[in-house]
Symmetry: C2
């Protein structure tokens, strides 16, 4: 069992009516704030006005960058970096989901260096030693970006969608108000839940030995997603469901559950290639891949983890044959994703074609084989893609 | 469901061989360190020499205060405060269990004010607005003081043992090396486990509605204690058991599990009176009280929580009658504490006498009735004490 460093100092205001604390929190970092957001839904919902009211009360000087895309582009990051530099920004305030927050993270880092922000990504990536402070107001429970050190950015010029982890990217303060997710569509709620589930499973399904207490926590998080995501899809204004999903999204990926395991993910690197080429919703791509990846990795050497998952998350009878429990756990996962959440089931459903498999599989393995739960070469990735058709 | 603020920025180095980071972490706060510890077991174990080696490598100026008692006394706190002031200490390094860390917290706070440190406690307590930075090296998994804002100090002159919570008391950095707990005696291991269990149950057994995901986490923590504490008692050098207990001890009380609930504890205020008068080990007092408190609070209005606990922690058959499950869950708790951990079962066993019940019950309710899972007046507390004989 390996040691680890736990270091997640993000302060979180959770619940309704916490925005009254926004001004004083921002003020700690300075007076010049860059407000970033996406396509304008925060204007329609009234959130924009509430935020501006708090910023004005706190006497902040506000600069804005809107229009950040889902699967955010490097061009938006560059635009933000330019504003930070030109306007001597003190603190960035991201209002939105994972895409807005991810892009904002690299604006904050890019503001502290001379080189282009795309050089933070890929082979030979430049270090991220500093970033301007980041505050977030979350409007979608999915990526966990509000409390982690990671972000993903797309470059359609090169056909790449790349992630990066760095401690300075961790938000200083995040506001998590479940009622802000009431307006999230059924589809985005479901895709967000699939993303949360995948974050947990990428860590849970591992051959590294680790702490039982963390496995118990992951099973609790998975049970929470399984219990509340279908409720949030059916009843978008169910506070209990939205609150449970929101806090679960943060803890699924903030680094606590990984303990001393290697960070060795499988479905995420595969999915990033799908959405780099097809621009599909990340959580939908993960939902299609996950059960097939589970099926592909199941053998005598891995079956025990499926049994633990099936019994503790889905309540499958522990007295059954191990392989039978494992197969039933995959069936339960499929039923949850495709029937209870109503997500599309196959690549065919979403228009992903075999002709792109070879290139996407090569790119998924750009740094060598994916050394996750099972080691996956490009050939293995192609085989999993085939199962998704 | 209430909102809450999550704010636990303690950085934790977990595992063996992490002390190489001690010097650089202390250095962030200055060069003059006050090293605090207890009765000298850290000298016998060699830990003292390892720590001093790191401090000298980092070129720190070291001052020392040893002899901090179990159930630490206000006199030790005063002594530490005096050293901090006279020597212009920059940072405090507590090496030990909860008693050493608790006392050190109030030295760090006392160093920043003019008044006596005892004025931080009791009715009309003075505010704690600042404290010197605190770093800890934990040698006993029990109180969670390494990652929380709380501490308890005894004043034998007044017969009081009082707790205090304040954000500046939160350690900046803590080193959690499970191998440092290998030398903890069977009794202290068992009593520490009972303390951890009580921290979780004080929050879990509540009538406040809160997040399902936090209940799941608490059940996972309780399962971890139930699984690993008996192993640690039997096999003191079992790394897996020691590691699970150690990380569980921190998360049992650092504030994460409380979510939006009121902090409304019951067994702790009762126990503090036992150990204030009899100086018994805190965890042992909690072990004796907890099952009787559960029995006393069980009725139709509370039974559902016992059912949830019994089914999810002890695997009791969910199809049984609710009240039967609740009673069985109390029996399982007793079996765990008194048979598997081998702790003493009654007040009679540890020499606590009826003649002190009335005064201890009055003091346990010094701020009014205990408004926990059930409201407890002095009469209720006396009745629970009677059940413990």
């Amino acid at each position: 069992m390996n040691g680890f460093v736990y270091d997640i100092p993000t302060k979180v205001y959770f619940g309704e009516n916490q925005l009254g604390n926004l001004g004083s929190e921002l003020h700690r970092f300075g007076k010049r704030v860059l407000l970033t957001y996406g396509g304008g839904s925060i204007k329609r919902s009234g959130l924009y006005d509430r935020v501006m009211e708090e910023l004005h009360k706190a006497d902040m000087e506000v600069f804005e960058l809107s229009g950040i895309e889902p699967n955010p582009r490097i061009e938006s990051v560059r635009e933000g970096v330019a504003i930070c530099k030109e306007q001597a920004i003190d603190v960035l305030l991201a209002v939105g989901g994972g895409s807005t927050i991810d892009a904002t993270k690299f604006m904050a880092a890019g503001a502290c260096v001379e080189h282009d922000a795309w050089e933070f990504f890929g082979a030979g990536a430049k270090p991220i030693e500093r970033a301007l402070p980041i505050v977030t107001i979350l409007t979608l429970a999915a990526t966990g970006s509000e409390m982690d050190t990671a972000g993903v950015v797309s470059n359609f010029a090169t056909g790449d969608k790349l992630g990066r982890l760095a401690r300075p990217l961790l938000p200083q303060v995040s506001f998590l108000d479940p009622t802000l997710t009431y307006t999230v569509s059924r589809f985005q709620t479901a895709a967000g839940a699939a993303d949360i589930m995948s974050h947990i499973m990428e860590t849970y399904f591992s051959t590294d030995p680790d702490l039982y207490m963390l496995d118990c926590f992951m099973e609790g998080l998975l049970k929470t997603v399984v219990k509340y995501a279908p409720i949030a899809v059916r009843e978008p204004e169910n506070y209990e469901a939205r609150a449970n999903l929101m806090w679960t999204s943060s803890w699924a990926i903030n680094g606590f559950i990984i303990g001393g395991k290697r960070r060795a993910w499988s479905c995420h690197p595969m999915e990033h290639e799908l959405s780099a080429v097809y621009d599909i919703t990340h959580g939908l791509g993960l939902a299609i891949l996950t059960p097939r990846w589970m099926e592909y990795c199941l053998d005598d050497s891995t079956v025990d983890k499926y049994v633990q998952y099936g019994v503790n998350v889905f309540g499958i009878d522990a007295s059954l044959d191990k392989m039978a429990i494992a197969r039933e756990s995959i069936r339960c996962t499929e039923e949850f994703l495709f029937e209870q959440l109503g997500l599309q089931r196959t690549f065919t459903d979403v228009g992903i074609k075999r002709e792109d498999f070879a290139l996407m599989a090569q790119k998924a393995c750009r740094y060598g084989a994916i050394k996750g739960f099972k080691t996956l070469t490009p050939k293995d990735v192609e085989a999993i893609f085939e199962m998704c058709l």
